[in-house]
């Protein structure tokens, strides 16, 4: 009785029927008219607001159950309510990327006949963190429960938390050393983990025995289940008030309205046409311990994106020309790519509340088979897929922003998100116990600049719209390191008329442990993985890691000598090297080394955002304020922005506006004097292209893109007037 779906059709048939109706009518579930909305718009809107309130309330309640600072402090959680077929009707704030990945999870269970086995019953709890079923990466663990009303399946409630420890080959959640699925950690593959509203004991035991820090995962499970039950009961109460027929119809109209609203918003805010952009990612692992020799250790990724906005308002994103999947943890599944699209759309176009899977249905992603966006091998690792996802969707934000500028909505233009290099750790805690954790202070990078103002400093990441670095004291409770510095990184925003938001850097003293493993991921140090816009420059590349082993910091402190709390502004010699004795280490790319111990020092820098507009138009007065407050250095103000600063009577920087005007006029002349016509540059560069006179990683990048993409091959060949295939593929220069 309890398995019985609402209609005579089984769930699987109903899902296929819904997809067929969408195909035939172009409208979600064949809803060509919003009849309930037309009958009583106020009731319609009120109901959606109620559903949204259920979600927001359930998430806030659940965060108080969690033990994880990632969920409690930084809000790494989202919840949503779905139709029986698994389409999102309403969602909370939080990591909205997962609203659609959960949708994929529910549909996967339906299409795989879970109605028959293991059956879908009232009180069941299903969990998943398999990205090929529907999530982004292994630490994103999702729970869903079916909602039954008088024996009829009427929807689903779902919740996701990003776990701080996933039990992989390296500690933490973003398992940077995973090169195949089998080293990513504990997988839960669309599994029934509970019945009668209770999580199974054997599932909890599996978690406890396979994770370094099970308290985070297990209490997050309880938090998620509590939020799902809370939403379920609210929906059941609502159905008892409005009736089952009304619920079944209105819940689908909400989605169709969301689809139409997305199309209308695109027509309102953008300009139709074709937009193009690209970014890159440098994966540098040569010589690092632990990486198996399964592929080339260093790899340059190109991520070209072509976005088309049709006059119907549909947005299509095409990733053709990008790189193949590889034996590393940065691959992504279509679910993750969907998630990236969803979280970007919700932030940039759907900021008025009625957001659901309808918005996703008004878009299309073209993900070439065999690339990192759509691997043709389900054994690949995806544990750090954000490494490529974030730069990719940063491009999407810049493409959308170009359309906002063209349409005149300059206040919405935004140079985009940046990567969030992340620290994972494990070993022996300050309490002498085993531990593992991802440090989530990375949830507060600098944002790209806006078209009318500077970017946000230390306050934005694309993947968590409630960006927050968390309190130092909370992080210190959870790891055997204490902060000796957390400060703004000068010049970390890309230069421009409006500079990108600045990032911050933390410096820690390793404390009360003899074995602390520190690893980092999503760290593109060799190339820019972000960009500027309309003349703005990219933000700097990821900064190298700086550490001091066997430091003399305790002796220095005992003597009252000055310490170093940040690396300083000399790129060649850091303040650590100047002020602290010990074995100094500088590491490029992901940090994979021998364990640290008490007395060592470690620093980690986050990323700033790209700049907007010509640097020579930047406000001199604002720049003086930036220099005074540590967001820019005097060197940058002078040589990058052409701003002449003087000191006032108290030694604070003040802009000399007249001198700045003269200096900028001279810089503009210098600019013209050293620039050459693009046609001349192409003619000169063509010889280099013909000889493939590039670094091996650059040649490999072209060869891989050419192998996978006829369009990339043609575009490359047409641009340089060469035969790209003969230059870069078999038989050509190695």
């Amino acid at each position: 009785m309890l398995d019985k779906p609402a209609s005579a059709l089984r769930l699987r048939e109903r899902l296929l029927d819904s997809e067929r109706l969408m195909e035939e009518t172009g409208c979600y579930d064949g809803i060509t008219e919003l009849s309930l909305r037309n009958q009583d718009p106020l009731k319609f809107e009120t109901l959606h607001t109620k559903l949204r309130a259920y979600c927001v309330s359930a998430r806030e309640m659940a965060r108080r159950i969690s033990a994880s600072p990632g969920v409690r402090e930084v809000g790494e959680m989202v919840v949503a309510i779905y139709t029986p077929e698994g389409d999102a009707i309403a969602l909370s704030n939080g990591i909205m990327v997962h609203v659609h990945t959960m949708s994929r999870f529910i549909k996967w269970m339906i299409k795989n006949n879970y109605e028959d086995n293991p059956r879908i019953r009232e009180g069941d709890i299903f969990a998943n963190n398999d990205a090929f079923i529907g999530t982004v990466q292994v630490p994103d663990v999702m729970d869903v429960v079916p909602i039954f009303h008088e024996g009829t399946l009427v929807g689903w409630a779902g919740a996701v938390c990003h776990e701080l420890e996933a039990g992989g080959i390296t500690p933490g959640g973003d398992v940077c050393l995973a090169q195949e699925r089998f080293t990513e950690g504990l997988f839960v593959c669309a599994e029934k983990i509970g019945e009668n509203d209770e999580i199974r004991r054997d599932y909890v035991i599996r978690c406890e025995r396979n994770l370094r820090m099970p308290i985070y995962w297990v209490l997050d499970e309880k938090a998620k289940v509590a939020s799902c039950i809370d939403m379920r009961e609210s929906v059941k109460q609502l159905i008892s008030e409005i009736g089952l027929d009304y619920w079944m119809k209105v819940s689908k109209e909400f989605i169709e309205e969301g689809r139409r609203a997305q199309l209308a918003r695109t027509r309102q805010l953008t300009v139709p046409g074709i937009y193009r952009g690209h970014t890159f990612y440098g994966h540098v692992t040569a010589g690092k311990p632990g990486f198996q020799p399964l592929g080339d250790p260093d790899w340059l990724y190109n991520i070209p994106i072509e976005m088309e906005i049709g006059t119907d308002g549909k947005i299509t994103m095409d990733f053709e020309g990008t790189q193949p999947w590889g034996y590393h943890s940065m691959n992504c599944t279509p679910a993750g790519m969907d998630g990236g699209m969803f979280v970007t759309l919700t932030q940039h176009m759907n900021f008025e509340g009625l957001v659901n899977d309808g918005a996703w249905m008004a878009t299309e992603l073209k993900l070439p088979h065999g690339t990192w966006t759509n691997p043709d091998n389900e054994m690949v690792a995806t544990a750090t897929s954000w490494a490529l996802l974030l730069p990719a969707y940063g491009v999407f934000q810049r493409l959308l922003s170009r359309s906002f500028v063209a349409r005149g909505y300059v206040e919405e233009a935004f140079v985009g998100q940046v990567n969030s290099p992340m620290i994972e750790m494990g070993g022996e805690s300050q309490y002498g116990t085993p531990f593992g954790m991802a440090h989530f202070e990375c949830a507060a990078a600098g944002s790209g600049a806006l078209a009318i103002k500077d970017g946000l400093d230390t306050a934005y990441v694309g993947w968590n719209p409630e960006s927050d670095m968390g309190n130092i004291e909370v992080w210190e409770q959870s790891m055997p390191m204490v902060y000796i510095g957390r400060s703004i990184v000068p010049n970390s925003g890309g230069a421009g008329k409006y500079r990108g938001g600045c990032s911050f850097i933390s410096t820690w003293l390793i404390n009360k442990t003899s074995h602390l493993r520190l690893h980092t991921s999503e760290h593109s140090s060799r190339v820019f993985d972000n960009g500027g816009m309309c003349g703005g420059y990219p933000a700097p590349t990821c900064q190298k890691h700086r550490a001091v082993r066997n430091s003399n910091i305790h002796e220095l402190a005992a003597k009252g000598e000055p310490l170093a709390h940040a690396p300083g502004t000399d790129p060649h010699v850091s303040d650590y090297e100047r002020n602290i004795g010990g074995d100094h280490v500088v590491v490029e790319g992901p940090y994979i080394t021998a364990p640290h111990k008490q007395g060592d020092i470690f620093s980690h820098s986050y990323n700033g955002g790209g700049g907007y507009g010509d640097v020579l138009e930047r406000d001199p007065v604002k720049t003086a304020w930036d220099v005074e407050n540590g967001f820019l250095t005097r060197e940058a103000a002078d040589q990058v922005f052409g701003i002449v600063l003087k000191d006032d009577a108290e030694g604070y920087p003040v802009a000399d506006v007249d001198a700045t005007v003269k200096r900028r006029a001279a810089m503009r002349k210098e600019r013209l004097a050293r620039a050459i016509p693009v046609a001349d540059w192409i003619a000169a560069e063509r010889g280099r292209v013909e000889k493939a006179d590039f670094a091996p990683e650059v040649r490999k990048m072209y060869a891989s893109a050419i192998k996978l993409s006829p369009r990339f091959t043609k575009d490359f060949s047409d641009f340089w007037n060469v035969d790209a295939r003969s230059i870069f593929t078999a038989g050509a220069k190695p």
Partner: protein
């Protein structure tokens, strides 16, 4: 319907509007008459008379120039037919050495010039830096934007362009 004066739109575009007012505009329902007001603001700013049809960057506009539609810099320099990539008619400065990259990133770690270069696309007349590409050596120059100008005016603005 939300609507703002041309003066407010002008100040918004130039970054001069006080933040609390800007914030309210960001939070409010969008003003559907924005496009033509913004075009009028741009038109006031430029010294030339060709009607602006579409802004495409901070200082680049597609405009009607006699029988042609061209991409034009705010200074008046024409980059030719708007359907062609304006960058191909620009001046370029490429930063592909540590020394030239260091000029823009004086206090930071640098990318490897063997893997990545910065290309600055400059107006050959006034020296405005219109666009910056960060790309691997050998990567084709990107054609950033090919607007569907006719479709935009006809289907979205309801004011078809004269052929």
């Amino acid at each position: 319907m939300t609507s703002y004066s041309k003066e407010i739109i002008r100040d918004l575009a130039s970054g001069q509007l006080p933040w609390p007012q800007t914030r309210r505009i960001m939070s409010a329902y969008k003003d559907d008459d924005r496009f033509f007001k913004m075009v009028a603001v741009h038109q006031d700013r430029v010294a030339w008379k060709d009607p602006i049809l579409l802004p495409v960057s901070d200082h680049l506009f597609i405009c009607q120039s006699g029988d042609e539609r061209v991409t034009r810099c705010e200074c008046g320099h024409s980059f030719g037919d708007y359907r062609k990539n304006w960058k191909l008619k620009a001046a370029i400065h490429v930063r592909n050495t540590e020394e030239t990259l260091r000029e823009i990133y004086p206090n930071s770690d640098l990318p490897d010039p063997a893997w990545m270069e910065i290309r600055e696309f400059i107006c050959p007349e006034c020296g405005t830096l219109h666009e910056v590409e960060a790309a691997a050596p050998g990567y084709p120059i990107v054609h950033d934007f090919e607007p569907d100008l006719e479709g935009f005016y006809r289907d979205w603005l309801g004011k078809p362009l004269q052929p």
